[in-house]
């Protein structure tokens, strides 16, 4: 556990450093999904080429980038957000290996993932399509359209992980998400989104239906002064921020 925490802190430090250097980045939205992407890459994406990952909430891309870097899938990440960089504030499919679709405008990646899952069915291919969406993203109509599509076509190779970091509570709050998903004929588990074990267990329980995993997460997880603090949603990270984080780690 301690080793895991150390590794995660390293990734968090990398995210802060990149955000500070690039002068850009939705840091708390990345921190809420870091554990999820890290686990998916370690256990599914790098293990089996037929598994694919679509980051629908593209603004969380810093978490995605540092995991891709950790697995040596990408390099030159230090250029983040500089003029000629391959790595911007939202991921570009044609510049970055591992990015299935360029996302950023919300509500695009999840239906895209449904199409990818359907393609696998048509081709009789094995493997799962993982799509990570935000709870704020659940405001978008296409999310609900796609939930209908996926259950209607019985896409039992599709897993939708919902990063429930309470982003949407201040605008359009979505209550009782689990029952909504079940009523759309999906299987659904609610987990602690920072628990690798809980994520793996719920994935292993997918049966003959599309599976939704509501991952309760903390926006800004790991950087205590950012946690659940809306001020930080798109606030600039500077060297002072990094120092403050380092001090917390030393304690």
């Amino acid at each position: 556990m301690a080793k895991n925490k150390l590794e995660t802190d390293k990734l968090i430090h990398r995210i802060l450093t990149l955000a500070s250097k690039g002068g850009e980045g939705h840091v708390p939205s990345s921190l809420s999904i870091l554990d999820i992407i890290d686990t998916l890459y370690e256990k599914f994406i790098t293990k089996n080429k037929s598994n694919k990952f679509v980051l629908s909430k593209g603004h969380g891309c810093l978490a995605f980038y540092v995991v891709l870097e950790k697995h040596s899938i990408i390099k030159n990440l230090d250029t983040f957000c500089s003029f000629n960089s391959n790595f911007g504030g939202h991921p570009d499919k044609n510049k970055i290996k591992g990015v299935e679709s360029s996302t950023g405008s919300l509500g695009h990646g999840f239906p895209f993932a449904c199409g990818a899952a359907l393609a696998k069915k048509i081709k009789n291919e094995k493997g799962k399509i993982f799509s990570l969406i935000g709870d704020g993203e659940c405001n978008e109509g296409t999310i609900w359209e796609s939930l209908l599509i996926a259950s209607h076509h019985n896409l039992d190779n599709l897993i939708c992980i919902i990063d429930k970091n309470k982003s949407t509570d201040r605008s359009l709050k979505i209550d009782d998400l689990k029952n909504k998903l079940i009523s759309f004929n999906w299987d659904c588990f609610v987990i602690n989104g920072h628990s690798k074990k809980a994520l793996l267990t719920s994935i292993s329980k997918q049966k003959k239906k599309p599976l939704a995993i509501i991952a309760n997460t903390i926006k800004g997880k790991g950087v205590t002064f950012m946690e659940n603090n809306p001020e930080w949603h798109h606030k600039k990270v500077d060297k002072e921020t990094i120092k403050k984080f380092e001090l917390i780690l030393e304690k």
């Binding site: 499919k93 695009h108 239906p111 899952a117 393609a119 048509i122």
Partner: protein, 296 residues
């Protein structure tokens, strides 16, 4: 062209196992045989165009060749951002076949009109745009382009040209009568002008692919003509933008007959709209006569 679309797709389904068709609850009965023969490759996705387009992009990313079909405004206007990002920005192959054109559904009103489609699609930099004038032309153009790497928009209409051209994707057809006046006609508008081409010995550029635009023919014609009349059955913009790329544009007088930038709140028939908007032999002949009077 609708029937031809079904025929063309049916023929291709047998040859190309990667084709998959998504319908937005439109044209479903017409495709009934394909639903029976290939239930895994044709879907009536439902009335949710945005998701249907994104989903098609996901299919394309996995190596399938998607064909998406519904009425023009519901593909182009409603799902524009999905076309722009999921196909344009992602650089994925996909074929979007619309029906209804600008106002084929005249009596259904403005919600079902789509004179904006060509301009909207033109604003997606890598979107290929095809406006066939007849069923045969659609069949040729679709076969020549559906599998290339780009997204492509096909604008179908229920109204066809009587004169059929042998067309090639990305190439304009050209009748050179050494005239000072050139008609540039796009898609199914030849019935309004073809008789005039011979009566007045005019040049004709007949365009069925709008992007990639055939600049070569324009270069040839611009040396001989001092006037171009564009006959475009949609909002103007895309074609003019190609023409202004010509070097000696200053010496050319440009007229156009297009759908005016307003909501067409009348109902009735397509022909009634055509007559009112200037898509008729009589009204186009008036423009030619005026130009003929101009000193050369």
């Amino acid at each position: 062209m609708r029937k031809q679309f079904i025929k063309t797709v049916t023929n291709l389904f047998k040859k190309d196992k990667k084709i998959v068709t998504l319908l937005g609850d439109i044209g479903v009965f017409g495709f009934r045989d394909l639903f029976k023969s290939y239930p895994k490759r044709i879907y009536n996705i439902g009335i949710l165009e945005q998701s249907m387009i994104s989903m098609a992009a996901g299919l394309s990313n996995e190596g399938m060749k998607p064909i998406v079909h519904t009425i023009a405004p519901f593909i182009v206007s409603r799902a524009f951002e999905q076309l722009k990002i999921d196909f344009g920005y992602n650089k994925l192959n996909g074929n979007f076949v619309s029906i209804g054109a600008s106002y084929d559904y005249a009596s259904l009103g403005c919600t079902h009109h789509c004179p904006e489609d060509i301009n909207l699609m033109y604003n997606i930099p890598n979107m290929q745009i095809v406006a066939p004038g007849s069923s045969e032309e659609f069949d040729n153009l679709f076969n020549q382009s559906y599998a290339n790497k780009n997204p492509t928009y096909f604008r179908l209409s229920d109204y066809e040209n009587e004169k059929k051209f042998k067309v090639r994707f990305g190439r304009a057809n050209f009748i050179d009568n050494k005239s000072k006046i050139t008609i540039l006609a796009v898609g199914p508008v030849l019935n309004f002008i073809y008789p005039l081409i011979y009566k007045y010995n005019l040049n004709l550029i007949y365009l069925t692919t709008i992007r990639p635009f055939d600049q070569n023919i324009l270069k040839k014609i611009s040396k001989k003509s001092n006037s171009i009349i564009i006959i475009e059955p949609f909002y103007s913009g895309a074609i003019i933008n190609e023409i202004i790329k010509l070097k000696d544009i200053n010496n050319i007088n440009i007229k156009n007959v297009s759908v005016p930038f307003k909501f067409l709140t009348n109902y009735g028939t397509k022909k009634q709209h055509d007559d009112k908007l200037g898509f008729s032999i009589q009204k186009i002949e008036k423009i030619i006569k005026k130009l003929n009077k101009r000193p050369i």
